[in-house]
């Protein structure tokens, strides 16, 4: 047991090459994280461009993949944000595909999970909530603040309800980012720990007999992780649509 098994090690950022440039005193370096993001965007772009290039009436493999993706996200946006929410379809679709591809890339052996870093998910959540706030104020002006005051309430109740609604609104980007980040982080750590058990048990003489147990668990967890990876991308897209619905219709 010379090599210690460290389940956190997989989340370490690795610098690639020399610093690109400096901002203030901070150097900007390409990490494997940024490389994965660039790769994800490139992959999505290529698949989408190739899938939509043919535009045949009977779709080929790639085209039907793209069509299924489109229909799926479009129905999510329609059901959660309403028909006029379709003007935000490009945003939701980009977010969904970005998160989905990054989550799945993390499931590759030796892969790195970009979405297990809270700074990434927080940046995405802030993007969503800023869109909601800016668009809400642009479209409805000060009436957007009616979001915080449910109609038909007794004025005394409003004194308590308005602060709660405000905090509830502020908690949205937090829950949006923490959910995705925590799911990916916890899943990958659990996977690594069970895989580590297998190795440790095999190296412990007679105890090696029970090593298939954690191996079976690791296999089952892998399947679960694939489910979580897709599910979390879907949840992210759904919640984005729900929040955008508030920007479109702030009244209760």
């Amino acid at each position: 047991m010379a090599e210690k098994i460290d389940p956190i090690h997989q989340f370490q950022l690795v610098k690639i090459g020399q610093p690109l440039f400096h901002i203030g005193g901070t150097e900007v370096v390409l990490t494997q994280s940024s490389l994965y993001m660039i790769g994800a965007v490139a992959l999505i772009t290529i698949v989408m461009l190739m899938g939509t290039a043919g535009r045949s009436l009977v779709p080929g493999r790639l085209q039907s993949l793209v069509e299924v993706m489109y229909e799926f996200v479009a129905s999510t946006v329609r059901s959660s944000a309403g028909h006029d929410g379709m003007k935000f379809f490009p945003l939701v679709f980009s977010l969904f595909m970005f998160v989905l591809v990054l989550n799945l890339a993390g499931m590759m052996p030796y892969g790195f999970t970009v979405t297990s870093h809270i700074i990434i998910t927080a940046a995405l959540a802030v993007l969503v909530i800023l869109t909601v706030i800016i668009y809400g104020f642009m479209k409805h002006g000060l009436r957007f603040l009616g979001l915080f005051a449910p109609s038909g309430m007794h004025p005394v109740m409003l004194v308590i309800l308005v602060p709660i609604e405000v905090i509830s609104f502020i908690s949205r980007p937090i829950s949006l980012s923490v959910r995705l980040f925590a799911n990916m982080l916890a899943g990958h750590i659990a996977l690594k720990i069970f895989a580590g058990f297998v190795v440790t048990l095999l190296g412990a003489g007679l105890w090696g007999i029970i090593s298939p147990l954690p191996l079976a668990l690791a296999v089952a967890l892998t399947a679960l992780e694939f489910l979580v990876a897709v599910l979390q991308a879907y949840v992210f897209a759904t919640l984005t649509s729900i929040y955008l619905h508030d920007a479109l219709h702030p009244g209760h």
């Binding site: 308590i160 602060p163 709660i164 905090i167 908690s171 829950s175 219709h249």
Partner: protein, 63 residues
């Protein structure tokens, strides 16, 4: 499990937002510890409100 994660994160986010706001108020206005006490209470309320809304106990604000 997805649902459980969703509900717990809704609640935790409410408390965190309340505590963060309270801490900010205290740092700005020098009212430590009252802002944190009051706003964290409200944060608990908001967290429960979030959970009730997410689980469908109360009608979502947008119908």
């Amino acid at each position: 499990m997805g649902k459980a994660f969703r509900l717990s994160s809704e609640f935790i986010a409410g408390v965190i937002a309340g505590a963060g706001l309270g801490w900010g108020f205290d740092a700005l206005l020098g009212t430590r510890p009252w802002g944190m006490i009051v706003l964290m209470m409200l944060g608990f309320g908001a967290g429960i409100w979030n959970v009730m809304r997410a689980s469908g106990f109360v009608r979502p604000p947008n119908g």
